[in-house]
Symmetry: C2
Subunit: 681 residues, 2 copies
Amino acid sequence: MNKTEQLDRLCIDTIRFLAVDAVQKASSGHPGMPMGAAPMAYVLWTKFLKFDPSDPHWPNRDRFILSAGHGSMLLYALLFLTGYEEMTIDQIKNFRQWDSNTPGHPESLLTEGVEVTTGPLGQGFGCGVGMAIAERYLAALYNTPEHNIIDHYTYAITSDGDLMEGVASEAASIAGHLGLGKLVYLYDDNHVSIEGSTKLAFTEDRGRRFEAYGWHVEHAEDGNDLAEIETAIEAARLELERPSLVIVRTHIGYGSPHKQDTAAAHGEPLGAEEVRLTKEALGWPLEPDFLVPDEALAHFREARARGELLNGEWQSRFSVYEENMPGEASRFQAALKRELPDGWQDSLPSFKTGDGPLATRVASGKCINALAPKLPQLLGGSADLAPSTMTLIEGGGDFEPGSTGRNLHFGVREHGMGAIVNGMARHGGVIPYGATFLIFSDYMRASIRIGALQQAPAIWVFTHDSVGLGEDGPTHQPVEHLMSLRAIPGLVLIRPADACETAAAWREALKLYRRGVPVAMALTRQKLPVLDFADAAAGVARGAYVISEAAGGAMVIDVILIATGSEVHVALEARRLLQERKIQARVVSMPSWEMFEEQDEEYRQEVLPAAVATRVSVEAGVTLGWSRYVGGAGAAVGIDRFGASAPGGIVMDKLGINAENVAAKALKLIAHEPGKAAWDL
Amino acid sequence: MNKTEQLDRLCIDTIRFLAVDAVQKASSGHPGMPMGAAPMAYVLWTKFLKFDPSDPHWPNRDRFILSAGHGSMLLYALLFLTGYEEMTIDQIKNFRQWDSNTPGHPESLLTEGVEVTTGPLGQGFGCGVGMAIAERYLAALYNTPEHNIIDHYTYAITSDGDLMEGVASEAASIAGHLGLGKLVYLYDDNHVSIEGSTKLAFTEDRGRRFEAYGWHVEHAEDGNDLAEIETAIEAARLELERPSLVIVRTHIGYGSPHKQDTAAAHGEPLGAEEVRLTKEALGWPLEPDFLVPDEALAHFREARARGELLNGEWQSRFSVYEENMPGEASRFQAALKRELPDGWQDSLPSFKTGDGPLATRVASGKCINALAPKLPQLLGGSADLAPSTMTLIEGGGDFEPGSTGRNLHFGVREHGMGAIVNGMARHGGVIPYGATFLIFSDYMRASIRIGALQQAPAIWVFTHDSVGLGEDGPTHQPVEHLMSLRAIPGLVLIRPADACETAAAWREALKLYRRGVPVAMALTRQKLPVLDFADAAAGVARGAYVISEAAGGAMVIDVILIATGSEVHVALEARRLLQERKIQARVVSMPSWEMFEEQDEEYRQEVLPAAVATRVSVEAGVTLGWSRYVGGAGAAVGIDRFGASAPGGIVMDKLGINAENVAAKALKLIAHEPGKAAWDL
């Protein structure tokens, strides 16, 4: 070995043993992946990756994603060694401990330098595709022949597990279709999965499959041959018409005499004795643990000077851009900060009763198209349902191989869409949305969740939000989905009752975007009257509000009817029926539980006074959860079964989502006595 | 055209116009797919498919799956024309109406002859793989060199959407790996998706991709050329080492002058005028609608005689089998009826306090291995987590290319696993299970749901069921998943508190299997004491039970603590703390909401008497939903945020899942007055 080779080896082994020691100290973690993948990561981070440890948010940095998130120590070691300030050796010694920034799997919210939260396999793979899409979109939006403001690569290290996951298959097909040439993925091909050899379940021809998707595939046969890896990455970078997969043959647990190339190296510490043997085998000092040779550190830390230089060059370029194109430059910077232009809200349409009946998905489409001219950073698409989800930006152009417009066509790939939109949101500079039927939120639930976990502010447009969609039947009729989405921490669900509430929902969605909160909208397929309630906007902003007071006023309420979305109309009709019986009902429209729960106690009491315990909720979904608001003395009208195929109105009616049933339930509660309950409408 | 050709054409157009007319009459549906795919379906159903319309459940029938479920009228037309009794012309006229057996998408629960419920794309594709696995397993189990009892093909018609979905990608990779040669899929390659040409989003090389998975790929360039289709299917059937994909170039809306080859033919009626023009274009009488020419019907109905013959031959073979191998024959028949052998329950292990502490996943593994010798129809596997989910049947052998054992290796493909296990359950004759971490139930949620919808009795083994899993962190820690699974109609969730409850959970899971109810089990990673409660088995069977009575007896209960799974131990410790303060707490273990809700009112009152309104629930998950049991006067201890990476006990403790917090909450409820609430433990 010459000196350079010696230094390279020293640096690589520093990564390896930081991982080995951290996992050993934590008595928990995945040493094998970092041990095998350290060389490719070293080559990538020292020879190619453009980043500035002193400025982790430098907008034009290359993005790096560790899709194989279980190998988190690889990433933490790189962040520490290259000089990210918050990543200290103490944090690494605190790997997987409470309050550290070195959790079991990388979390972008916790750790500077972690671009996306990964761990659940395939998610990082898909996010990278989203980042490359965002990069291309921003480049098209801001660059000019004279100014190159956004121009970066997106790299990832992916694993066998990533490549097996359907979400990655979907994202890979989209990336190949779009020809995302600045996407370069290294595949840590180590032949071992948790149950044993990949021969057990993963014998497909990966290279050929990716070629079929339209990818450029490179091979590095020896995962320790730095020159070979470098050549392959260079070839991948030079290919700008297709995304690239560099298949690197590695050895899990490299260097461990007894565990290399076995599943035992995957998910548990090597054990003290094997750590010793591995250090001996690779010629590493047995003491101290967490050894970082000065020479290695110095070499890694060159990243700082390199980063400052690259960043500085870019800052200079950007200064010229600012001078020449001040409007674009300030819009660019505002977009990165998630600021919205003055007066953006004014473009939202207002609806009048005469505009109806109108499906809320249609109203949503009008909102998108009203916002689009004001918000060039808004782009998105649907999983092959745009004509139904009404999410097309008219005149926005298509994001396709030959054009970089605002309408993405995800194909029938909900999960891929989910991960991609998360990646776009995490890239920054864009407001991304993804759309499908509410039922298919199940297909992408893992992405919705990990988006909420990392506060990737996507806007999910879920239409066809109840059995009211009708004939397509129970395979397409969501029942449990509203409540299941409410159950996800950090996600806000908004289910507007009419066109006016829909406009307000879009306003709130964008406000939440600014706070980094992802939003799911539930919208109807069926037409609904426009309620044109004077204060819908203010009401929606508070999550729930009195949309129709009891006829006699707030002091004489017999029952509160609480409804969401299309069922607000049912509640309003039930109020009328009750009124005929001299029963005073207040109707509360509750488009968003999460937003209501953010309100102060006073407002919540105002809407749902404790004194009125007689309450009936109406929602065309499972009743599970509604006891939170109707309490022990109330009743929940809902659908605790699967739907059925028939015209939507009939299904609603047959399943009891109608005013008569709601009024009857209210009367029964009020009557108390069995005799009075037998109320015949 | 010669006479045969004329008859073929007549039959094919009969299918086409039944679909066109039914969709037109319903004002809803998907005419284009049946119009394009009718020829391939006709060839398959008249030349290859072994089935007996008079005996839809004939065990050795070929399985046919319309994975492109939106083309349901294609299937209903075939069922009617070939003579399935329940499928009448009136049902077809009632397409997509309340109470018909012709719903918008095929539902196996509603309609004889529908093998699996389809519509959500990719699910049928995956189910077919499961059916081929079940077939191969049963053949290995029951066939002998002399007796061929199970020997059938599994066919499907799949669409662009199916092939785009990740669930299908995963299932395809598994099928290719396993070399499921008796799987023959026809791909309706019509170049059109909802948003327009497949060029918008689906330009990958499908054939090459499937070859990369290890499939045999055939092409039929003209979807109206019956001979070409027949040749391709024949070649597919002859290839027994690899699954086959027959790519058939079709034209959506074939024959419609203005809508053929357009997205407009996909999801809406052609319209009266276009129906007329299409009939004219294809030389079909304009009147009456729903025309079924006698000659066509007679030709289709030959399926009955053919079916009786095939079925009869098989019955004869089976009679000989019964004579020679009576034990096997009766076991086979019992398995098809989901009967379990006498004494199967006796094999379940019993656990004593001394056996612990024991993770419930470990106890579950012992149950699986105790049941396995008694239940040869039990097989399953994990999505590359078997060593963690403890689902390996020791000595059961692997289900692999060269061997047909009981341990399936799904790879890191949860969604594919979900669809495959559903298909196995729908095939019959096997008790299939699928396992992964509870967090990854999100990846396969669409399959769990459609399994519940069609009562496909799978057993889902979900381990690592709370933040108690510790260091892997919030990406791996389920929080909302217990409640989200409870929200799915028709699914039973069981979360046992210790090894004894786990054994009881397996007993109940198998009893539910017999009723066609799928079950999800939530099991711990962490060790738990064995409670060895005398009546755990009876208690679990009722969903909830008093596991520890208030010290003073049922008449003096101050508070009821309701807990599930690992939190039962927290509740028991809280009871002790309260007891020290002379507070009488009853502890209710509630492993299954669904099973508890099936109990009569008397029992439910016995466990949760209305008189005791002071209740505290404890579950290491979202509190959403718990107000159902704790009511307005109670409190829910849970986790309404994401977890964190740290040792499990620490995470539990930091997030308030500990006895002190539960006891404090109980005291606060009891104290009423603010002063008393300030209780310092």
